[in-house]
Symmetry: C2
Subunit: 494 residues, 2 copies
């Protein structure tokens, strides 16, 4: 192997190992850490981020990249990704990276309190600092990558997708939504109300069942943990996955379906190619690809009619009481209920993209400097009203609801909806290639689906860009009509 490329791979592995340490500490900060640990944790994360940045931008890296050659498509793709990462890293001075990491973790800590008391003013100064540093970051990246500042941030989450591509897809969805939402609500009303599940659902039982269902989807808990945090997420590393959720004794769905969602993310990480562990080509293909995997498990598989039948029987066996409400048809009424709501993470499949479109527009304006942080609550209210016809009663149910902006993640939100669209398209392809896939899900067996995903998505790492991955797996690039067709089948058919 070319020695310069070999050195680059060793360095990448060492940086990734520190990144693993940071990933575990990030999980701890959200799921375990007492509040008094926050200040020191911010400094620990900043020190790690700074070191990783120093290692990635050391002068000898440029020399090695100039001299490096790689053989075979995997190593060639890996080298191309190393070059791209180097472009991104060298665009940013170490001081900016460290300041940004510290500002993010400081703001995120204040946000937890601000959200609790719905007090935007409390977090505003810290958020202004985050946005200021994000703008600076975006401009520095923009100059190097030849992308607009906002696209340069998006590129950090899902390479090769630009706001100019996303905008018409989102505008078209806004048009679809204007007709689909009233129609879905009308059909829903015609079907009659759901019967609430009897409950209560003791938290200890919920935990055990969520983990059991997650394991059924294929997640090995010898390599994973399930814990609690305010904002559910999937963290950790491929061999040590950390899923979090939150439980409410009166609501069995939120935690269970949330865990199944995070399980989709986890299965992707677990299935990444071992041979390129700690190399960029061995990583997931981006955040839209990642979200496609959580949503294919949660929305396509687990909220589909077949799996709901199985899940209802399991729920009834676990919680007892009358069997009726646990029938698939009633669960579908409960868990595929369409509603104009304020909270993104509680939104149904039809309105979810509206929440994303709102955030896409606002964060683009924040980064462009067209929107001041102080004006965010007002712009939020206006934008939500335009899309869904409702106005949030407070900031906790408005611009304080999500962690992303308060933790420095700008350009991430579009991935949710691109992922939802990709999930529908991948499910169609998996179904076409895998006879009996739905019948297996009806028995609580996700192995056929997982087998297809392992081969066509997980095991591909970052070998292909997002559009090429979609092409190789489904025969065409991202096609939003698979998603709207899915919505039409599920919600707009009497």
């Amino acid at each position: 192997m070319n020695p310069a490329y070999q050195r680059l791979k060793s360095r990448a592995a060492r940086i990734a190992t520190l990144g693993e340490a940071a990933a575990m500490l990030g999980w701890d900060a959200a799921a375990m850490m007492p509040p008094g640990g926050g200040a020191a944790r911010g400094e620990q994360m900043a020190a790690l981020a700074g070191l990783m940045h120093e290692m990635a931008t050391a002068p000898e890296v440029a020399d090695d990249l100039a001299a490096a050659e790689a053989d075979g498509e995997w190593d060639q793709a890996n080298l191309a990704l190393l070059r791209h990462a180097h472009l991104r890293s060298t665009a940013l001075p170490t001081a900016l990276v460290e300041a940004s990491s510290l500002a993010n973790s400081t703001c995120e800590k204040i946000w937890r309190e601000a959200r609790r008391s719905s007090d935007f003013a409390m977090v505003r100064p810290a958020l202004e600092e985050v946005v200021r540093l994000q703008r600076e970051t975006a401009q520095a990246l923009s100059a190097v990558l030849g992308l607009s500042p906002y696209d340069a941030l998006m590129d950090g989450f899902q390479r090769g997708v630009t706001a100019a591509e996303v905008e018409p897809i989102f505008d078209a969805y806004e048009t679809f939504l204007a007709e689909a939402l009233p129609r879905a609500l009308e059909l829903q009303a015609a079907r009659g109300p759901a019967t609430p599940l009897p409950g209560p659902f003791p938290v200890e039982k919920q935990k055990a069942m969520a983990q059991a269902m997650s394991a059924r989807m294929g997640l090995e808990y010898s390599h994973a943990r399930l814990d609690e945090s305010t904002h559910p997420f999937c963290g950790g590393i491929p061999s040590d996955i950390r899923i979090t959720t939150r439980y409410q004794a009166q609501d069995v769905a939120q935690a269970l379906l949330g865990v199944l969602h995070e399980t989709g993310h986890a299965l992707y990480e677990r299935g990444l190619p071992q041979g390129f562990r700690r190399q960029p080509v061995g990583e997931a293909a981006g955040m839209a690809a990642h979200e496609s995997q959580s949503l294919i498990i949660e929305m396509q598989a687990c909220r589909g009619d077949h799996f709901l039948g199985f899940l209802g029987r399991e729920l009834h066996a676990t919680y007892g009481g009358v069997a009726g409400p646990y029938g698939a048809e009633n669960l579908a009424k409960l868990w595929r209920r369409v509603d104009r709501g304020f909270i993104r993470v509680d939104a149904d499949e039809i309105t979810y993209p509206a929440h994303v479109i709102l955030r896409f527009r606002l964060e683009r304006a924040l980064i462009a400097g067209d929107l001041a942080v102080a004006d965010l609550p007002g712009a939020w209210a206006e934008g939500l009203h335009r899309l869904l016809g409702i106005t949030p009663p407070d900031d906790a149910r408005g611009c304080l609801q999500d962690i992303h902006w308060h933790d420095g993640a700008y350009g991430y939100f579009p991935s949710y909806t691109l992922g939802a669209m990709a999930a529908a398209q991948l499910m169609n392809a998996a179904r076409a290639a895998t006879p009996g896939l739905d019948e297996a899900l009806g028995q609580g067996d996700a192995a056929p689906l997982l087998g297809w995903l392992r081969k066509h998505v997980h095991g591909q790492g970052s070998l292909l860009g997002f559009q090429d991955l979609m092409r190789a797996a489904t025969g065409k690039p991202l096609d939003p009509s698979d998603f709207t067709a899915h919505l039409t089948r599920r919600y707009l058919t009497a």
Copy 2:
């Protein structure tokens, strides 16, 4: 401030920040991590250890140390400690540090399984590698520090104490024990048996009470967590303390007293001088000093007659049933019971030093090359028999019981008994200087004791060496007769 010294302080703070990350990951590995995460965690810890070592041994450090000057006793002590740490660090090549860190975490992981199945052969190869690398480390340190190899390892845990000083103290204790143990057992028999506490003690209640009692001792849980692990410990960092314990529903004492022990360690960390955070002079004064703080809380305060009275009332209020067994006199019979046992962590105050003396002798021989790892089980049995007249029935209750040797900690064990002796001496001094200290403990109020410790021990950091710390706090260097007098009062007086 002298710029060379300023640079050294900045570097020390950065290294300490990475050390904090490693401390949190170490806690996670013991308390949270699924088994499948072990391999990657070992690599993460090794990468951090390697980086810290690189930063500590960079060529410019020697130049800065040569040019550095410090003003005032704290900064002068800090600079002296930086020089000492540099001597230790530069004695070891990076490859040895990384290999040792990896060998330790690999062995520790196997040990958990080997102890469960009492299978010394399972861990032997990994332990041989740990010992081999520890010998190499000890020899490299020995050459630089002008200490024997074993003393050079001890110096890493408790600076300035040598095996030659410890040996006569331990030999004298062996003589004391030969008379004291039969006498204590005789008096104990004369007092009649204890009444067992009724139980059961539901684990959830135990957790809540252990945390409440720990908080009563002065530990703020906004800066701490209490979790479970196989081998209880106090980890984390001063602003984010992580205590672990293990619970048994039939035994309320083990977890409760264990948590109070770890609380003593935690209070020391919490009380270290903030102004020298992340500097060597701001750290605890060594492991013997640390153990003196856990034992002054657990053994001197909490197992003393006054606090037992309070604790008994709390236990009875929590678990109900008949009140009789919760009287202080019965709790003293239960929790100050003297016994010839196999397990160090379950040992009473009189026999505990015997367990330490055994380990001190064996690890000294392992490091000197006078004892092979393969011969450890036999040497253990022989040594224990000489000290306590008993022979372990298996290795789980013999040389597999402790984590230390399997995690690369050689030269640590003497600290336990030096700490026990120091605790008795410090308690005498605190009592003499603080009227009402025992009466306050009788009301569950540890504030007078904690106030004295904050001033005379915790807040002193590493300003003074162990003996000078003892001298400043108690008017004399370590004097084992305070400990034997304490034992005589508590166990050998009819």
